[in-house]
């Protein structure tokens, strides 16, 4: 499967606030842009893979979206895996293409939690409301606390991730938040749920993003200008409830990355640039460990020593990540990975040949990995 399927086109809306626009409209704009980037007609699309809007569940969303975009896919629908779904859908679409179930697949996502409802992010977990256990950030804070206590990870080390992502985002004209911060700014930002501060938490964003997939041979036949091969993908999941996990300091990121690296036939040390899901700083830090970029418990030191900055061993989140570019769940990281492989990023890593991308959902519950090449 290595490199048999390529990302032929990428597209997105602006990131931030889209007052009054439906997710159908945002998906349509992202898909239009992705098809234009690939240089192919919509009529060729016969696979439509959709992550439904997180903030508002809607029955048969994938089918309604296909209808609104005038697509009658041979294969398609929605996939429910929280923030891991976009990367996972790219894996499923790749399988469908290789299995002859479709020729040209669009994978798309849009949501409007900033201008619309964000109720989905406020809900209680399980039946533990009586203890005051509400919201998404506290789940991540629970994991962060354990990591800090167990390994001595510090607030300053988490802050190094926030500082690096904000610096990259400041240089990205499409980023929603283009204001770099210092470590002092980070330390001074409000504690939301101890040990996490405001600047540990991703943005809330409206927007849409899409990619077009096809086989490498189809891309050649259609004269696609800058196809980027998918070398490997993987997925994994652990328990939904944080309380029920036997170990809080490692996640399904590990098995997901192992699957993807095995498929790609490369090692973590071969990766030149990474887009690591940073819904919260602790997520990115633990993913670096689980992927094997550093040892378990060494993520803090790895980021503190500048490993993730431009010019470091592993430049990370070169478009700003969820902390700076957009809080959307993941597709933007795939798009930045494609730009890095094409050599067109605003923060281009010199001679980058391999890019690892992570997406994750729930509270480090689901995980998905992609490895792109050239």
């Amino acid at each position: 499967m290595r490199g048999n399927v390529v990302i032929a086109g990428i597209g997105h809306t602006s990131f931030g606030r889209h007052e009054g626009r439906s997710t159908y409209s945002l998906n349509a704009e992202a898909t239009r842009n992705a098809l234009q980037d690939a240089g192919i007609e919509k009529e060729r699309v016969d696979g439509l893979f959709v992550k439904f809007p997180t903030s508002n569940f809607e029955f048969m969303y994938g089918q309604k979206l296909a209808e609104s975009m005038g697509i009658t896919p041979r294969i398609g629908g929605v996939w429910d895996q929280g923030g891991a779904a976009n990367a996972s859908l790219i894996g499923f679409a790749s399988m469908a293409i290789e299995a002859g179930q479709c020729d040209v697949a669009v994978v798309t996502f849009a949501d409007n939690p900033k201008s619309g409802t964000r109720q989905a992010y406020q809900r209680a977990w399980g039946s533990d409301e009586v203890f005051g256990w509400f919201g998404i950030p506290p789940g991540y804070a629970m994991i962060a606390q354990r990591h800090m206590q167990q390994y001595g990870t510090t607030a300053e080390q988490l802050g190094a991730i926030s500082v690096a992502c904000r610096k990259n985002g400041a240089n990205n004209p499409n980023a929603q938040l283009r204001k770099p911060i210092t470590l002092e700014d980070y330390m001074a930002s409000d504690l939301i749920v101890d040990p996490l501060r405001r600047d540990d938490c991703c943005l809330v964003s409206d927007g849409g993003a899409a990619v077009v997939l096809m086989s490498a041979s189809k891309a050649k036949e259609l004269g696609v200008e800058q196809p980027v091969p998918i070398l490997g993908y993987g997925q994994g999941q652990t328990s939904l409830e944080v309380a029920l996990r036997p170990d809080l300091t490692t996640t399904a990121a590990k098995i997901s990355a192992q699957t993807a690296f095995a498929a790609a036939g490369i090692k973590p040390s071969d990766i030149d640039v990474a887009q690591i899901y940073d819904c919260f700083t602790i997520t990115a830090l633990m993913t670096l460990e689980d992927y094997g970029f550093c040892e378990a418990g060494q993520g803090g030191k790895f980021v503190e020593d500048g490993g993730i900055e431009l010019g470091g061993n592993l430049p990370m989140n070169t478009s700003g990540g969820l902390l700076s570019e957009t809080g959307m769940p993941g597709m933007q990281m795939v798009i930045e990975g494609v730009r890095q492989m094409r050599g067109t990023s605003y923060n281009q890593v010199d001679k980058a040949k391999f890019c690892a991308i992570s997406n994750q959902g729930g509270v480090m519950h689901t995980h998905s990995t992609l490895i792109l090449g050239q």
Binding site: A124, V130, G132, W133, Q145, L248
Partner: protein, 140 residues
């Protein structure tokens, strides 16, 4: 009318499956489920063993001894009912028998008393008329 009054306090929804859990707390005891087929022990209440899928399940009283796995301290309210309790903690606790649950650590002099793996002891407390489990530092 304040926002707090407008939203009901989120007391647990008691149903056929979890009723024994809440009933045992009313008698100052914390119970967990145990599989009659494979001896697996767990919380929260389910209808099948999550290890062997057997429906043969027993309720067993816990000793009340536990340890602290992790905790957070809310500095902002995520629900209006808890706005006047800030800052408050929520913890993941592991019973000595194995099952883990979400709870609160009570009777603390300061947050700096908290440490992972610290031994804890069950304290059943009243919350809006419902007996719920909390934990305090074990007497050592």
């Amino acid at each position: 009318m304040s926002k707090e009054d407008a939203v009901a306090f989120p007391i647990p929804v008691i149903n056929e499956i979890n009723a024994p859990y809440w009933e045992s707390l009313r008698h100052q005891q914390l119970s967990f489920q145990k599989c009659a087929a494979c001896d697996n022990k767990w919380l929260p209440a389910r209808t099948e063993c999550p290890r062997c899928l057997s429906p043969e399940i027993r309720w067993v009283a816990a000793s009340g001894d536990a340890r602290l796995i992790s905790w957070v301290v809310y500095r902002k309210a995520f629900h209006p009912s808890f706005a006047d309790r800030l800052p408050y903690n929520v913890a993941v606790v592991e019973l000595n028998e194995g099952p883990r649950l979400i709870s609160n650590i009570v009777d603390l002099e300061g947050l700096n008393e908290l440490a992972i793996e610290m031994p804890l002891q069950l304290v059943v407390r009243d919350e809006h008329g419902v007996a719920i489990p909390a934990f305090r530092k074990a007497n050592t």
